[in-house]
């Protein structure tokens, strides 16, 4: 079954998913087109590695699209996609114990050499896109400040203030009570204010 790509752009997520369920290849492509940038941005800002972010984004879409037949339309499609993407990033961070990546090195590094090594690992990854972003003064400072947040705070703040999701949707995505989401976002903003001020003063 083929649907012209142009007509798909005007359809809602639910409508496109319904077409995908009917086996429409173009509908699958449209879903990827809609979410590839938000999903990749979120994962990249969580794991700070382009290759890895691509792999995890790819895994996210494969999971979502291979399970599209079992998708229940009473739930928001975007919540589902972001949930799988966030889980992929968090799982990776847990596995690699990079849960509090910092420009100053891993918190698990207990010698100056290790601290330097882990710090270099992060800054030497040559993320051209990240460097490009960091060249912009405020954007760069914010990107660096986000890196220092706890992963839970990072997910919340990125979903709320970068992806523009509502508190309720973030609660759905992260499986957290609404109050916790609000607290995390406020704490994250508080930390970002402190970090921003600190980075400015450096």
């Amino acid at each position: 079954m083929t649907t012209p790509p142009g007509s798909l752009r005007e359809k809602t997520d639910q409508e496109v998913v319904a077409l995908a369920k009917d086996g429409g290849e173009e509908a699958y492509r449209e879903l990827i087109r809609r979410y590839e940038r938000p999903v990749f941005s979120l994962i990249f800002r969580m794991v700070r590695n382009r290759e890895l972010a691509e792999d995890l984004s790819q895994e996210t879409f494969i999971k979502v699209l291979n399970a599209v037949q079992s998708y229940r339309p009473e739930f928001k499609f975007s919540s589902w996609v972001f949930k799988i993407a966030n889980n992929a990033a968090i799982d990776h961070l847990r596995k690699r114990e990079l849960d509090t990546l910092s420009l100053e090195g891993s918190p698990h590094a207990d010698t100056p050499e290790l601290i330097e090594a882990t710090a270099l690992q992060i800054s030497e990854r040559g993320e051209s896109q990240l460097q490009e972003v960091e060249n912009r003064e405020l954007g760069g400072t914010i990107e660096r400040a986000i890196e220092r947040l706890r992963p839970e705070y990072r997910s919340c703040i990125l979903l709320r203030h970068v992806e523009g999701r509502t508190y309720e949707e973030i609660a759905e995505v992260l499986n957290l009570p609404l109050g916790t989401v609000k607290t995390y976002i406020h704490r994250a903003r508080n930390e970002l204010r402190i970090l921003l001020k600190g980075l400015r003063d450096e």
Partner: protein, 194 residues
């Protein structure tokens, strides 16, 4: 004179400020409090910075790489009940059960009078014991202090109908509550485990 206690802007006040919904009292406070002015300015800067972060995109060909690994239109696998595989042990057990049943039928048809006698003895014992148990149970119920009330409630057909309806309602509510309790939590996004 005791100075009025200073209440600085809370996190909710900050949100209210950004959505232009800060209340009058806090607005007045903000006009004079240098600390809160700095806080608001920094918070605005953070939000501006976050809002201006660019949307990043994966390398070219991402879509095709994903599509190469997606099974289009393939329905979700449905678990199918299948007949258990016949192993040697299972076949032996089946044969043994079949032989046992056949032997039982054969013996029953040959020894019909013996079987009838046994059944009669067992039947009469069960009947007598059952009857006795029933009588004991009923007399126990009748001796309860609430029995008269219960009998009163079912004294007319109308009352009996009302009581029955109430009991059915209670039972249905219990069933619903139990169903909610035993249903595994799906979270708010049921598909997320995919």
């Amino acid at each position: 004179m005791t100075p009025w206690p200073t209440t600085h802007l809370t996190a909710d006040d900050l949100d209210a400020f950004h959505s232009e919904a800060l209340n009058h009292e806090m607005r007045l406070h903000l006009e004079t409090c240098r600390e809160c002015q700095t806080l608001v300015a920094l918070d605005r800067e953070v939000l501006d910075g976050l809002g201006r972060l660019p949307s990043l995109s994966p390398r070219d060909g991402f879509l095709d790489r994903v599509m190469a690994r997606v099974a289009i239109g393939k329905p979700a696998p449905v678990p199918v009940l299948s007949f258990p595989r016949l192993t040697r042990g299972r076949v032996t057990a089946l044969i043994a059960a079949g032989v046992g049943m056949a032997a039982s039928v054969a013996w029953s048809s040959v020894n019909r009078p013996v079987l009838d006698r046994w059944l009669e003895t067992v039947g009469s014992t069960v009947w007598t014991r059952g009857n006795l148990l029933w009588q004991q149970g009923f007399s126990y119920l009748a001796s309860q202090p609430w029995f008269d009330t219960l009998r009163e409630l079912s004294s007319t057909p109308l009352r009996l109908a009302a009581v029955s309806l109430a009991v059915i309602g209670l039972y249905a509510t219990g069933l619903l509550a139990l169903r909610r309790l035993v249903t595994p939590s799906a979270g708010t996004v049921s598909n997320a485990g995919a």
